[in-house]
């Protein structure tokens, strides 16, 4: 059996995280062939993103200070692992070499006062590369025969559109197979830095929002792995947020389609893009808890298994707002909804939901609160430019409830049923939309009512009480 295992940053960076991960890998590698994919240590990616936005205005001192913060995050676990002096020195040396490159990159940005997409990719790649140094040292200490590889080393090839590089699928499949399979045959565990790849011309590129999960699934596809295990610090995908719903429990099994719907609505476990290679290849993906490695977690697989419950989960997406466009001229005018989508897209606003009410002659879109103002001004300017006179109104302080599950497919009157579960609690539903896949129904309610509504929905449609 071949398994690609990806380890998340918060798991790696937790106290004793790397030894814990080493035990998991060590145990697994005795029974199966294992490929390991790692993320950047905890908040390093955020720090690098911060640097990407700010380094233009930094002076030497600020660059050096930033480097020292990054150094601290990586040298602490190295020190705690109590490595042999020679191993430690070697790791520190390697770390310093990378930090030196990082410093050069940032100094370049600060001198030129410009961050090109190419340097941006290079900058973001350091998170996983630095993590690779630290994690490899820990795995070697645990006596695991490993080979440390960047995405490029592992054979992952992209085009060179920096910032949004796309995978060269055939070349990657071939490259990865050629690199990883011989290692696996020798009993060596390849440890691959996630998120990063290489362009054909040999430059560092990144895999975008799918991140390390995407690395894991695409490697799995290339070597025809039997499963992908995503190790995190939670028990799996839950039926609801356990901080709100006490009776929330782990979902044992999900289909890819369901998982993607949940991912879209913010289940933080996985980015929808990241699942694609596994889904296409029909490789099951498990989400597991690194702190409790004896639990099976959540299995995402090709089959859509209907359970007795109508839905599998209720997600709550807070911090959203509604922007509503209204006006008589909107009604019956074809293409208005498309125009709205287009304007919001151009303004870089991500639309979570959209709904049109003919009776009230308006169209509402749900967007993240941070982009609410941007959405409103894009719409009022954009629509008046094409001669549509419309009022634009925003409402902050609303939340989206997303009910997801294949059980809702082809069940007549399902929306009404779900709706009445919310209505029974006395909560006013502001908007409702059913996804085209029929795998989800989403509602918008006032934020102050949202927790009450989540609890009610969880009881009635997930637990089926």
């Amino acid at each position: 059996m071949k398994v690609v295992m990806k380890f998340g940053g918060s798991l790696l960076a937790s106290p004793g995280g790397i030894p814990r991960v080493s035990r998991v890998i060590s145990k697994a590698s005795k029974k199966m062939r294992v490929v390991v994919v790692i993320s950047a240590l905890d908040d390093v990616t955020d720090l690098l993103l911060h640097a990407a936005t700010n380094a233009r205005t930094w002076d030497s001192t600020q660059v050096i200070h930033f480097i020292d913060r990054i150094r601290g995050i990586h040298s602490q676990p190295l020190t705690e692992m109590e490595l042999r002096q020679a191993t430690y020195n070697e790791a520190v040396d390697h770390l310093e070499e990378l930090l030196d490159d990082l410093k050069l990159t940032l100094s370049g940005v600060s001198i030129l006062r410009e961050l090109t997409p190419r340097s941006n990719d290079l900058l973001l790649s350091f998170g996983e590369r630095l993590s690779l140094v630290v994690v490899s040292a820990g795995l070697r200490k645990a006596g695991i025969a490993i080979e440390a590889l960047t995405g490029g080393d592992a054979g992952i090839v992209t085009d060179d559109s920096f910032g949004e590089a796309s995978l060269e699928v055939t070349k990657t499949r071939r490259g990865v197979k050629e690199k990883l399979l011989p290692l696996l045959t020798k009993g060596v565990v390849p440890v691959v830095a996630g998120f990063i790849a290489r362009s054909e011309s040999g430059e560092m590129t990144t895999l975008g929002r799918g991140g390390s999960d995407y690395t894991a699934t695409l490697l799995a596809d290339a070597i025809a792995a039997d499963e992908v295990w995503i190790w995190t610090d939670v028990d799996g995908i839950l039926t609801a947020d356990p901080r709100i719903v006490k009776s929330a429990r782990v979902i044992e099994e999900l289909s890819y389609a369901e998982a993607e719907e949940m991912g879209f609505f913010g289940a933080k476990n996985m980015h929808p893009l990241a699942l694609a290679p596994a889904r296409k290849a029909g490789i099951p993906v498990r989400i597991r808890n690194g702190f409790k490695p004896d639990r099976l977690g959540t299995l995402i697989n090709p089959r859509e298994r209907k359970s007795s419950a109508i839905a599998k989960s209720v997600a709550l997406v807070g911090n959203v707002g509604i922007v509503t466009v209204s006006g008589e001229t909107l009604v019956g005018r074809p293409g208005t909804a498309a125009k709205i989508f287009e304007l919001l897209g151009k303004a870089g606003v991500n639309v979570l939901m959209i709904s049109q009410s003919v009776s009230e002659s308006n169209i509402s879109a749900v967007v993240r609160k941070g982009s609410l103002e941007r959405a409103a001004s894009a719409l009022s300017e954009g629509l008046s430019r094409v001669g549509i006179s419309a009022g634009v109104k925003v409402e902050p302080d609303v939340s989206v409830l997303a009910v997801v599950g294949a059980g809702m497919q082809g069940t007549p009157g399902i929306a009404a049923k779900v709706f009445s579960a919310v209505a029974a609690t006395g909560v006013n539903v502001r908007m409702i939309a059913q996804g085209s896949s029929e795998l989800n129904i989403s509602f918008v309610v006032a934020s102050r009512d949202s927790e009450k509504a989540v609890k009610a929905l969880h009881e009635s449609v997930v637990l089926g009480k």
Binding site: D59, S60, T61, Q62, I64, H65, I67, D68, R71, G72, N89, V92, D93, E96, E97, D100
Partner: protein, 337 residues
């Protein structure tokens, strides 16, 4: 006639305690030989403050700081004390913060605003805003003295002033960070690796627990900015310094190979037009290739050529001796006024 000179010390760490010790031990001597009677009217650390307009009992103050970790019982904001306490000089000895120079910057500005003279060992406020701080001090008619900011006790700035009396100075370059120089010397003398040598510097109390200021060149950069402003009369700040390279990436093998060629690697800060900090390979006989926790500075004089000052430049006692030098100078000028 003796002149009473009232001091506020803000920051009561290694340097301040050494200074307080000397004020206590040598108070009588200063009264007798200089006619200056120092009174410590307020002391402030990060958690508390002690104030007595008639003069604090310094011995008691030192004892309390040692026993309780605090100079006083209550917390009072340093700025309030600086503005409201009647005193002649603020002695600013809080930690060097390279990012925004706080809290020292605010302390300095409050003192200048309140028409108090300033003596400081904290280089960062000056490195960040030398030109504007000096301008506002001048407009308020107060002195800002900062011998200890460069070379700890080694009178580098005074030496440069003396060189500049009769001729223009063209360039200044030097080893300005004693910790880094100690580390490099150690790597040369007993083939230690960088982390080992740094560890030793920490044990000996030379390096900060987080030594990036020292070994990555930021401390040297701050000092070269002060030299550029003070000695070369340039108008520069820390932002203008190109910190090209620190000493972290220097390997024992490079040190060894250089030694075989009779060379040494040193972190050198310089200013001619643009200030910079970089690592240089120097021939053995070069005056800048000094060993140990020392500083060395070369002033390039237009007519007489190179003039060099060097010596040990680390530690609280030597630093406080420079602070004392400044206090006596300011004290003397007050007396004369």
């Amino acid at each position: 006639m003796t002149e009473e000179v009232r001091l506020i010390i803000v920051g009561f760490g290694v340097v301040a305690r050494s200074l307080a010790g000397s004020l206590e031990a040598r108070g009588e001597e200063f009264r007798r030989t200089r006619g200056i009677d120092f009174h410590l009217v307020a002391a402030v650390d990060s958690k508390s403050a002690a104030i007595d307009r008639n003069g604090l009992d310094v011995r008691e103050l030192l004892r309390r700081k040692e026993e309780t970790g605090r100079v006083g019982r209550r917390h009072l904001p340093a700025t309030e004390i600086i503005e409201d306490t009647e005193a002649d000089i603020l002695v600013e000895l809080t930690p060097a913060n390279p990012l925004d120079a706080e809290p020292g910057m605010t302390h300095l500005k409050s003192a200048i605003k309140a028409s108090k003279h300033v003596v400081t060992a904290n280089k960062m406020p000056l490195a960040h805003e030398y030109p504007s701080l000096m301008a506002s001090a001048e407009s308020r008619g107060v002195q800002v003295r900062y011998s200890a900011c460069v070379g700890a006790g080694l009178p580098i700035l005074d030496f440069g002033d003396a060189c500049a009396v009769s001729e223009p100075l063209l360039k200044v370059e030097g080893v300005l960070n004693a910790t880094s120089n100690f580390v490099l010397s150690r790597m040369e003398s007993d083939s230690s690796s960088f982390p080992e040598a740094l560890e030793e510097a920490k044990k000996l109390g030379y390096a900060e627990s987080n030594p990036w200021l020292d070994v990555d060149g930021v401390d040297s950069a701050a000092k070269i900015v002060i030299i550029a402003n003070h000695t070369l009369k340039k108008s520069l700040t820390l932002k203008d310094v190109a910190i090209v390279e620190g000493i972290r990436r220097i390997s024992p093998s490079r040190v060894k190979a250089l030694r075989e060629e009779g060379k040494k690697v040193r972190m050198v800060a310089s200013v001619e037009r643009r200030p910079e900090v970089r690592v240089l390979e120097l021939p053995g006989g070069d005056p800048l290739s000094i060993d140990g926790a020392c500083n060395v500075v070369k002033f390039h004089c237009k007519y007489s050529g190179e003039r060099v000052v060097s010596g040990p430049a680390a530690g609280g006692v030597t630093t406080s001796s420079a602070v004392m030098r400044d206090l006596l100078r300011v004290g003397a000028s007050i007396e004369g006024s």
